[in-house]
């Protein structure tokens, strides 16, 4: 399994042809207490850089962009019951959705864990 990161603070786990997407620990820390997550509908198509989800903290709503192009296959139902999973386990249990990968070359421009850490340290 390979993990990639975007400069919009999403992470992507690639397992075979399926990608799991969430937001990073850095992102959840910046957002604060998360009270609601609006997830994309299963079967919908998302485009790289397009709006895919919305995270509502106590204070404000923030868009989450699709890191790659593909079709949404599954949304994390656990987040409906407990949106705070994004705060407590952002990079594991608090995943947002699973999607197909239409074009693997889109992954080329993304960061690995080390590069992402260096990127955050600069912010």
């Amino acid at each position: 399994m390979a993990r990639y990161f975007t400069d919009e603070h999403e992470w992507i786990d690639l397992e075979g042809d399926l990608a799991t997407v969430g937001i990073t620990d850095y992102a959840q820390e910046q957002l604060g207490d998360i009270v609601f997550v609006e997830l994309p509908e299963v079967g919908s198509n998302v485009d790289k850089g397009g709006e895919a989800a919305v995270v509502e903290s106590v204070k404000a709503a923030s868009d989450v962009y699709a890191p790659i192009t593909g079709e949404v296959m599954e949304a994390n139902a656990a987040l409906e019951e407990d949106p705070a999973l994004v705060n407590t386990s952002p990079e594991e249990e608090g995943w947002f959705f699973r999607m197909t990968v239409a074009d693997k070359s889109e992954l080329d421009g993304l960061m690995d864990a080390k590069a992402y850490k260096a990127f955050c340290d600069e912010l």
């Binding site: 604060g32 009270v35 106590v58 204070k59 949106p83 912010l123």
Partner: protein
């Protein structure tokens, strides 16, 4: 994340202290302000809940503190606000409004009568974002012989929560005992003159303490040394005041809103509604008689998705209003909002829909406050 240039922002007297406490600072009202703190007890929800359970220390030094004094100050100030000040006893506080000629709200403020035997004097606390406009408005309309001092170098902190009184007693013995809700007093502490008012904007019992910039850090340290007290940021202050049903200037109150539609008629002293003699009276007397077109109401939203400022309110296809503040209520566990909606529908129990990102959220008009106030009015 914010890209706002922080170079032009002013620093609070407690700036370094906030940073040492782990505050996340954001630009607000021309200052770098703590929005929340980091660490195990930090975060908006934790700070919010701690305020409801124990006591929190908020820095509100960005707010404007003004002293208006001189012979005839009472009358001069009464000409600019709808609240009666001539009947306000020394040491008592009143919530009132600065209005323009059209009855539009320029600001909402707290006025304390600080008059002594032969001096008429009032202490005003106004909003941070509007303080410079307020000062200009007051200078323009107060007679020349009335003096106005802007206490620009002084800080203001608010200690809020059910344990605020016990905690404050350990630093200023006897002070909590001397005051009930909407009363203020002055006294000396470590060589500095301090003002303490029993009020705040969270719906809880609490105090606002006006103190010199040179003593404010000592006070903050003395207060958080008490296990009952933790620092809290602007984020929690906003969610607390929303639950308390208290309008926020710049959001729920603007120059476009008047006190009648804002449901603030309690701030229009009854005897002065008819006699007038205050700026904006003409338009407001009319609104009182005919009723406002829209009214500020509370909305309880179904589900967990909050509606934010600007979201439109509908009944069927008819747009009937607009949300002016909204968020998730940590105390209640569901989203709440304030909105201005058409007067005919501004009735408890009315079912409406709020449009958020092309979805309709069902909501109901409910009475405010959403969470009951717990002010201390005496035994």
């Amino acid at each position: 994340m914010s890209d706002t240039d922080t170079q032009d922002l002013a620093k609070l007297p407690l700036d370094a202290w906030h940073r040492a406490q782990g505050a996340r600072m954001v630009p607000f009202a021309g200052y770098e302000m703590p929005i929340q703190y980091t660490g195990p007890s930090g975060g908006i929800v934790a700070e919010h809940n701690w305020t409801r359970e124990s006591a929190s220390l908020f820095d509100v030094s960005h707010m404007g503190q003004l002293v208006i004094s001189g012979e005839g100050a009472t009358e001069a100030l009464e000409a600019l606000v709808p609240g009666k000040l001539s009947s306000l006893k020394p040491g008592n506080i009143r919530y009132t409004l600065l209005l323009n000629e059209d009855g539009g709200i320029l600001d909402d403020l707290m006025v304390t009568n600080m008059s002594r035997e032969d001096v008429e004097e009032f202490y005003l606390v106004v909003n941070g974002a509007t303080k410079w406009d307020d000062i200009a408005h007051l200078r323009e309309h107060l007679p020349d012989e009335i003096t106005m001092n802007h206490l620009d170098g002084r800080g203001l902190v608010a200690l809020q929560g059910p344990k605020a009184a016990e905690a404050l007693e350990t630093v200023f013995p006897g002070v909590a005992e001397r005051l009930v809700f909407m009363q203020g007093t002055g006294f000396e502490w470590r060589g500095d003159m301090i003002g303490v008012a029993r009020c705040g904007y969270t719906g809880e019992d609490g105090f606002e303490i006006n103190i010199s910039a040179s003593h404010i850090e000592q006070l903050a340290e003395a207060l958080v040394a008490d296990d009952r007290v933790r620092p809290a940021g602007l984020g929690a202050r906003d969610s607390l005041r929303l639950e308390a049903g208290l309008p926020l200037y710049g959001h729920d109150l603007t120059v476009e809103t008047d006190p009648v539609s804002a449901d603030l008629t309690f701030a229009l002293t009854k005897s002065r509604r008819e006699t007038g003699g205050w700026m904006g009276h003409g338009r407001i007397a009319q609104a009182l008689m005919s009723g406002p077109e829209t009214k500020r109401v509370g909305l309880k939203i179904e589900g967990r998705m909050p509606a934010r400022e600007g979201a439109l309110v509908y009944i069927g296809d008819a747009e009937i209003g607009r949300v002016t503040s909204g968020g998730f209520s940590p105390t209640l566990g569901y989203p709440i909002a304030m909105a201005y909606i058409a007067r005919e529908q501004a009735i408890e129990g009315t079912e409406v829909e709020i449009e958020v990102r092309n979805k309709r959220l069902p909501a109901t008009v409910v009475p405010m406050p959403f969470v009951p106030h717990r002010y201390y009015r005496g035994k």
